[in-house]
Amino acid sequence: MNLESMYQEIILDHYRHPQHKGLREPYEAEVHHVNPTCGDEVTLRVHLDGGTIADVSYDGQGCSISQASASVMAGLIIGKPVGEAQHLQEEFLALMQSQGKVEPDEDVLEDAVAFAGVSKYPARVKCALLAWMAWKDATAQALASAPSMEESS
């Protein structure tokens, strides 16, 4: 059944037990992103430490997909170099836009491969991307406010 390809056990797990949730200090940039049609929201902070994503903290409300995606994302990119995290974001975006036609690389995306099924549901793709887009935005702001970090990334 299709539905289970979207609601993978791993997604429901992250939804029920979100990781890295809550807003933490310190941070260089905070953003607030929304999905206007469904009311999903996320507030997200990025803390960079010399070219590394030292912390990603977030809070918000939304459906299982958007909540689980934030949780998976945080687990995946915290501690990674900015460049690598950006690469992950691009990979995830590509997966989400693939309409189920791309075989995701588990070595790269780890738990995030569970979202492959979501890409077949266009209306839900936005949910899965909400936190990632917020992170991208926040990171760009953090880098802009501390240009020296960009060089070291």
Binding site: M1, M6, C38, D40
Partner: protein, 419 residues
């Protein structure tokens, strides 16, 4: 006489549709858009296959036929809402355009007495709406306020999703120039009392505008007896096609407002140095109109009138009553909006425990059940009711009691699915 829903359903081709693993479609999203009976599709196809031509401008046979069909559609609509005169019926592309037409032309009218328009607004003037408006009846007024310096006020809501009229006399006051409010909320289902609001607006001399998008399709609406100055509704929610709506306004209002869009059809004499304009309704219908859509809308009105609007209202009231009872059997379900059958229509919003409506809707869809989830273009209502979003089931003349049973079973399944 009650509606013969089984017979009615046969008129709607899409209701034969099967989705996913051959699930019959259970369409409970009629407040977003209604389905169309074959009579509407046939009327439009016949227009294109036999009579298609541009209107008002030609003397050849097709042009005369197309013009007669288009203007005939205006007569049909005028009769349906009991307009005093056919020239009070302006075709728009949807409700949203009608509301913006009013807000824009009110904004173009210099406020205050001598220089011209009695309907103009400016700094110090107030526009009053309600907290349960569709975005289409909020944003145009926000933009008007920004452009003119007028102030936007609104009537708040009670906890059970009705208008809080206790401070009506303060919210609508001597500074109020426009009162625009929804007849029935698309998210809460609340049917609003028109009379006290119009009475108060008349006392202070404000223009009254009714968003009838959710009532005209579902119950008899006599705009003359409601005594408002203007009203809008939209074809696609009343068994008609997309791409057409109606702005109705009293003739003197249409006479006084300046034109909205300039172009073909709305003019009298055009010179490079300046132009004069046609009389209403054409004054407000610039460009080639939605001809086939007007023909389709008239067919939808004919279809509704053949069913009988009182019968439609009765059927939907029975569905609503049945649905409210049935939904209460679902564990953890909370209705957002009036929880009784009084003064409400057939659009029921609810939340299911702390499950997000997106997840609820997705699992229902897998069983062929189409409901709407989200904020329903009424974000302030969600904020006011303390929910991020709702799941909404909404009805139409073709909705059956069995479909409500399917919804309730579906919701039980949702609960199990997310354990």
């Amino acid at each position: 006489m009650t509606l013969d829903v089984e017979r009615i359903r046969k008129d709607f081709p899409v209701l034969e549709r099967r989705v996913h693993d051959d699930q019959p479609l259970v369409y409970l999203d009629s407040a977003a858009t209604s389905q169309k009976p074959r009579a509407v599709l046939d009327a439009m196809a016949e227009y294109y296959e036999l009579h298609n031509a541009n209107v008002h401008r030609g003397i050849h046979t097709l042009a005369e036929e197309a013009t007669a069909l288009y203007e005939g559609a205006r007569d049909t609509v005028a009769g349906f809402i009991n307009a005093t005169d056919r020239s009070e019926v302006v075709f728009t592309k949807n409700s949203t355009e009608g509301l913006n037409l009013l807000a824009r032309t009110i904004g173009d009218s210099p406020s205050g007495g001598e220089s011209g328009n009695e309907y103009g607004v400016g700094p110090g003037d107030e526009i009053c709406i309600t907290e349960m408006e569709h975005h289409s009846n909020i944003v145009p007024w926000q933009l008007l306020a920004q452009r003119t310096g007028a102030t936007l006020k609104w009537i708040g809501l009670t906890d059970d999703g009705r208008l809080d009229l206790t401070n009506l006399d303060q919210v609508i006051n001597d500074r109020t120039k426009v009162v625009a409010f929804v007849h029935q909320s698309n998210i809460l289902g609340t049917l609003n009392p028109v009379e006290p609001i119009v009475r108060r607006a008349r006392e202070v001399g404000a223009l009254t505008i009714l968003d009838a998008s959710q009532t005209v399709p579902h119950r008899p609406v006599d705009l003359q007896s409601l005594d408002v100055d203007a009203a809008v509704f939209t074809g696609h929610k009343m068994l008609g096609p997309t791409g057409i709506g109606v702005l109705w306004a009293r003739r003197e209002v249409l006479d006084a407002l300046p034109p909205f869009l300039g172009g073909g059809e709305m003019i009298s004499v055009v010179q490079m140095e300046g132009s004069t304009f046609a009389e209403p309704p054409h004054k407000f219908e610039a460009g080639t109109p939605m001809i086939a859509e007007a023909v389709g809308l008239a067919a939808a009105v004919d279809y509704l009138q053949a069913l009988g609007m009182s019968e439609v209202a009765e059927h939907e009231a029975a569905l609503t009553s049945y649905a409210l009872d049935a939904l209460h059997t679902v564990d953890g379900l909370r209705v957002i909006g009036p929880d009784t059958t009084e003064q409400r229509g057939g659009a029921i919003s609810f939340v299911l425990g702390d499950l997000h409506p997106h997840d609820v809707g997705q699992v229902l869809d897998e069983r062929g059940i189409a409901v709407r989830v989200g904020q329903h273009c009424a974000a302030p209502v969600c904020r006011r009711m303390g929910v991020p979003a709702t799941t909404r089931a909404s009805f139409a003349p073709y909705t059956s009691f069995a479909e409500i049973d399917a919804l309730v079973e579906g919701l039980q399944h949702v609960r199990r699915f997310f354990g």
